[in-house]
């Protein structure tokens, strides 16, 4: 049942991407991007990754759609026709895609309990968590406690992204004397 659902959602995502490729109206592209994010979020729910789904729905479909609409307000809403046919770039991305497909052949199967990633530290987290941290949600325990350094790094990355945007977009108000 889950596989049919996920397959259907993935097919809808392909249709959405095709629509994004075909249309030249950027407003439609932004809206289709939001739809794509919601489909991704639904796939995440079907895969029982509700945390990721929440983030995807709020960031991908919510905030970033609004940001793109804000950017669209500053420029023309029609995509310009390309000056030339980008065959070289197309060949490169096709090659990379094929290489990635080839790479997935070597990966362990989906839901395989014998996969290396489930054999390394995951059993220890699951077995010792009750005595060491004792929170019912293992994801929170791993995220905030066992991998506390990683999460500190991630928070710093988010902060750096914000600081970068501030550095790029901030303008001094040109009222009164202009020293620069």
């Amino acid at each position: 049942m889950d596989e049919i659902l996920i397959g259907g959602l993935l097919a809808l995502m392909v249709v959405t991407v095709w629509g994004i490729l075909r249309t030249r109206n950027l407003f439609a592209v932004v809206v289709l991007g939001g739809i794509y994010s919601f489909l991704t979020a639904t796939v995440m729910v079907a895969l029982d990754a509700v945390d990721v789904a929440m983030t995807e729905a709020a960031v991908g479909a919510g905030v970033s759609t609004v940001l793109l609409l804000g950017a669209l307000y500053l420029c023309r809403s029609e995509e310009a026709r390309p000056m030339h046919k980008p065959w070289g770039a197309m060949a490169l991305s096709a090659t990379v895609t094929l290489a990635l497909f080839h790479g997935t052949v070597g990966l362990p199967g989906f839901n395989d309990p014998q996969a290396p990633i489930h054999q390394h530290v995951a059993p220890r987290y699951l077995n010792e968590m009750k005595q060491e941290v004792d929170v019912p949600n293992v994801v929170t325990a791993v995220l905030a406690s066992y991998r506390g350094y990683d999460t500190l790094g991630e928070t710093t990355v988010v902060f750096t992204a914000g600081a970068g945007v501030v550095a790029l977009l901030r303008r001094r108000k040109r009222k009164g004397k202009d020293k620069a």
Partner: protein
């Protein structure tokens, strides 16, 4: 969208529940799905929603840009401060076991709680700051009152 009565009424009803949901996701993250990042994003989305319906100026009045900027840094400082607290109390950096004198498990709970608060603060601050900067740009680009009115509504 300033004169759209239905949107304004719906927004007024929805936004308190959005914020309540964010708080639930934040503090219930130990038991169910969620945590600091999700809560921060939902808070930001609620404020963005408010700005979309009631205008950027109203959002600035509710949550001034200086606050948002401080939130960006305060979250990281809070997170790093939990690590320093671990050192001060005799453990390693980001060692939660020493945060409670009586029980290591309570120390873990305390550490996770404050770390998640830090994450939520930074994430919502950054999201809102980026939104404010983008939305403000159109406002400053076009100085004529009609266009700035329009961008304030955007």
């Amino acid at each position: 969208m300033k004169h759209d009565l239905i949107l304004r009424v719906i927004a007024k009803i929805l936004i308190p529940f959005l914020l309540l949901f964010a708080v639930y996701v934040q503090f219930h993250g130990d038991f169910g799905p969620g945590g600091g990042f999700q809560a921060g994003v939902i808070i930001a989305a609620a404020v963005v929603f408010y700005a979309l319906i009631f205008g950027l100026k109203a959002a600035h009045r509710m949550l001034p840009e200086s606050w948002v900027e401080s939130m960006m840094a305060l979250g990281v400082i809070l997170y790093a401060g939990v690590g320093v607290a671990g050192i001060v109390l005799g453990g390693n950096y980001l060692d939660y076991f020493v945060l409670d004198a009586h029980s290591t498990v309570h120390g873990q709970h305390r550490g996770i709680f404050w770390v998640e608060v830090g994450v939520a603060t930074t994430v919502s601050g950054v999201m809102l700051k980026i939104f404010y900067m983008f939305a403000d740009r159109g406002h400053l680009d076009r100085q004529d009152p009609a266009a700035s009115q329009e961008s304030a509504e955007l």
